[in-house]
């Protein structure tokens, strides 16, 4: 029988590779709870994207898709129930915001109290652009002056 020549070091690596392979397969079982089955794949997709945008208020830096807190499980179940009843994405977010406030959404709505939040990155980007522009211009001027055979 033909056997591939296995170098000793390669043999040592095998268990490690096997372990890594197992870990890769294992990620499939990390799904947080048995996925609620939706008949309509579009609704399933809506559910998947919704639970990734809802904050778990018990563990505030996780979404309810990530968290295994009891409240996160309850909220996932509640969202699934609403979607099964034919609720739209807006209906679900309105339901959550009415009970928990805007903080439950990872994407806060654009309103007077969040103008700074939404605007700040663009303002800072603008300031950065102006600074870079000024530096580049002054350097260009300097190098032009340097090239000038005086």
């Amino acid at each position: 029988m033909w056997r591939p020549a296995v170098h000793r070091s390669e043999r040592a690596v095998r268990p490690v590779l096997a372990a890594i392979a197992l870990m890769l397969v294992g990620s499939a079982s990390w799904a947080i709870d048995p996925e609620p089955a939706f008949a309509d794949p579009a609704v399933q997709a809506e559910y998947q994207s919704l639970i990734r945008e809802v904050r778990c208020l018990v563990c505030q830096n996780q979404t309810i898709a990530d968290s295994n807190a009891a409240l996160a499980a309850d909220l996932r179940r509640e969202i699934a129930r609403l979607l099964n009843e034919g609720a739209s994405r807006e209906d679900v977010t309105d339901f959550l915001v009415a009970r928990y406030g805007d903080f439950i959404l990872y994407r806060p709505p654009l309103q007077p109290s969040t103008w700074t939040l939404w605007g700040a990155p663009f303002v800072l980007l603008g300031i950065g652009a102006i600074v870079v522009l000024r530096i580049v211009r002054s350097r260009a001027r300097q190098s032009l002056a340097g090239d000038d055979p005086a």
Binding site: L57, Q60, D74, E78, G101, F103, I127
Partner: protein, 184 residues
């Protein structure tokens, strides 16, 4: 001039935000329910599941709604004070037993005392979601007309009671006792 002034201004503004952030409590999420009608519910009574208890029981009264569970450590810390509040009287306390084990909850009330006019069993947590509950213990003050007047998250203490609850109860009722019989 700009070369120094601009970075310093930006720095000061950013530090200002961070400094403010140091003193904010990220665990405090203001309830959108304040000033709105309290969610209605009708759930099995903890001590007699054949009966129900719910918002109808304190209709027209000023009442406290306290969310508790035996798995909640802070609830145990606050419990003696709730018992004291119930004894000094003046305002009914309605419990919402949140996702709890019934036998344990009954034992808890047996051994530690029962401050509640009645406790509702919210086994699935659906009513808790309607109330925007995310961290027991939470205590709501519900007004005579059924609006949520105040929400306190975490343990009820004498300081919180005197600072936040008493003035609002006084405004609603003219002081304690604040029962169905006492005139507004």
């Amino acid at each position: 001039m700009w070369r120094y002034l601009l970075p310093i201004t930006v720095f000061v503004v950013i530090v200002g935000f961070f400094y403010r952030g140091l003193y904010l409590n990220p665990g405090f999420v203001p309830s959108p329910l304040l000033g709105k009608p309290a969610p209605e519910y009708d759930l099995p009574r903890l001590k007699d599941p054949s009966q129900t208890v719910g918002s109808k029981d304190y209709d027209g009264q000023v009442a406290l709604v306290n969310v508790w569970a035996t798995w909640c450590i802070e609830c145990r810390h606050e419990h003696p004070y709730l018992v004291e509040l119930a004894q000094t009287g003046g305002i009914p306390i309605y419990g919402l037993n949140w996702k709890d084990d019934r036998a344990r909850a009954l034992e808890w009330l047996d051994t530690l005392g029962d401050p509640y006019a009645a406790s509702a069993v919210d086994a699935t947590g659906e009513v808790a979601i309607d109330w925007g509950v995310y961290a027991a213990p939470e205590t709501f003050l519900v007004g005579r007309d059924g609006t949520v007047l105040y929400k306190h998250i975490s343990r009820m203490t004498p300081a919180v009671w005197e600072r936040e609850f008493l003035p609002r109860i006084t405004a609603e009722c003219g002081g304690l006792p604040c029962t169905a019989a006492s005139a507004p």
